[in-house]
């Protein structure tokens, strides 16, 4: 059983979306020991002893993650199917690069396909979250 099926079918955690199921679309991206992976290309049993972070685990103390807030503020959610994967990849990216350029933010989501083609606002949201997380005050 893949990690994706384990999350959705066994644990009932459907925040992680199943898109292509072949590792091409990034909709099922989760963080495995802090690294973004396609959960459709990892076996659940491989994750024994590892930390799996899904979209359900991002909010803290009843507050959404700054990147989740930025996705709402910037209109980066259209149909919403790619959103959990985009956000998990974005979280990993901003951890490693807290002050990205627009070009870097575009490259960062190379493995996440948005079928609504809403990339402009998604990139805006990643950049806005970066500013917010730095404490720049610009939401």
């Amino acid at each position: 059983m893949t990690l994706l099926d384990f999350l959705r079918e066994y644990l009932g955690m459907t925040g992680t979306n199943a898109g292509c199921r072949t590792g091409d679309c990034g909709a099922c991206t989760v963080l495995l020991d802090g690294k973004s992976v396609n959960s459709c290309l990892v076996l659940a049993c491989e994750c024994d002893g590892k930390a799996v972070l899904t979209i359900e685990g991002l909010s803290a103390g009843g507050r959404l993650h700054p990147l989740q807030e930025a996705f709402m503020d910037e209109g980066a959610v259209q149909c919403g199917f790619c959103t959990p994967g985009m956000i998990m990849r974005g979280v990993e990216f901003l951890r490693g690069n807290p002050d990205p350029s627009p070009a870097e933010a575009r490259v960062a989501i190379e493995g996440n396909i948005c079928r609504c083609t809403g990339y402009e606002n998604i990139v805006k949201a990643v950049l806005a979250a970066a500013r917010k997380m730095k404490g720049g005050g610009v939401a």
């Binding site: 590792g23 091409d24 495995l32 690294k35 459709c40 491989e46 493995g111």
Partner: protein, 297 residues
């Protein structure tokens, strides 16, 4: 996906023991970035999966001045891309990794898994062959080494036997007056390559005459191939764009593409000719710069 027994190897020795015991009923899984799709499609249905991904002893990048580089088979693509020593001393490998699949795949997929999958359009194989790599294999009989150019036997088939493990890839330091380049062609960023080319060009002291060349192509046969006719046509020749253009016309002597859902065989040969030319020219430029001392390697 059919149910299977799952065994996580604790060491290379343990993995070899399990593989010996299970025989051909067992399949090794490293990053699984290709294998999982194969299992899901039912193209393979092993009784037992031996997970070697966690073997830290095969996750390393070593650079020894003089002798060259060693990369453990279970090093992820992301680790190779992020390696400062490879970026500074073997930039072509980092540039290949930068465009290999997507970040999610690079984070979990391994260099050894990529090579053992033996996809004929592998990003990694042509550049590693151009760099003169050796595959290090361990099995019940001990260790053996195989030049990477002789590692691939056919579509999805290598010299690694069911009871064996690929443990590392090694290649010599890039010699002086040498350039190595890599380019691939695909329709969409993140797609599997249609054609891959890597060129290794060494120049004489005059900075013009070619002393050694390797041109390695992927996606144009059942395995990566050396474009030997192109290489032979250029040896001892004073390189010019015209000479490279003319020699690149000989790629089809080494290729045997088949038409598939992506494109025709003729199309692959045409792209191969163009990529061979481009990679030769850019390796030539890098080699010239190395002769002129413009580029610190």
């Amino acid at each position: 996906m059919k149910d299977f027994e799952y065994i996580r190897a604790r060491s290379v020795d343990h993995a070899l023991e399990v593989l010996a015991e299970k025989g051909e009923s067992a399949v090794k899984i490293a990053g699984g970035q290709s294998l999982l799709n194969i299992l899901k499609q039912g193209l393979m249905a092993p009784d037992c999966l031996v997970d070697i991904k966690g073997l830290e002893e095969l996750d390393f990048i070593e650079s020894n001045p003089g002798t060259g580089f060693r990369i453990g088979a279970l090093t992820t693509h992301a680790s190779i891309l992020d390696s400062e020593v490879l970026q500074s001393s073997c930039g072509v490998l980092a540039s290949m990794e930068r465009h290999l699949a997507t970040v999610q795949v690079r984070n979990w997929g391994t260099i050894g898994g990529n090579l053992c999958m033996a996809d004929p359009s592998s990003d990694a194989a042509p550049v590693l062959i151009a760099l003169g790599s050796t595959a290090h294999i361990r099995g019940p009989e001990g260790a053996r080494e195989v030049p990477l150019g002789e590692f691939f036997l056919g579509y999805y088939e290598t010299v690694v036997q069911p009871g064996e493990l690929l443990t590392e890839i090694s290649f010599p330091a890039i010699p002086p007056a040498t350039g190595v380049s890599y380019e691939k062609f695909r329709n969409v960023e993140g797609d599997a390559p249609i054609v891959v080319s890597s060129a290794f060009v060494s120049l004489e002291k005059d900075g013009r005459t070619l002393s050694d060349a390797r041109v390695v192509l992927g996606g144009v046969a059942s395995t990566p191939v050396r474009a030997t006719a192109v290489e032979d046509a250029l040896k001892g020749v004073k390189l010019t764009p015209a000479a490279v253009e003319s020699a690149s016309g000989l790629v089809a002597e080494s290729t045997s593409p088949i038409p598939d859902v992506v494109c025709s065989a003729e199309y692959r040969n045409k792209i191969a000719r163009v990529l061979a030319k481009r990679t030769l020219l850019s390796a030539f430029e890098e080699a010239k710069a190395a002769v002129g001392g413009k580029k610190h390697r």
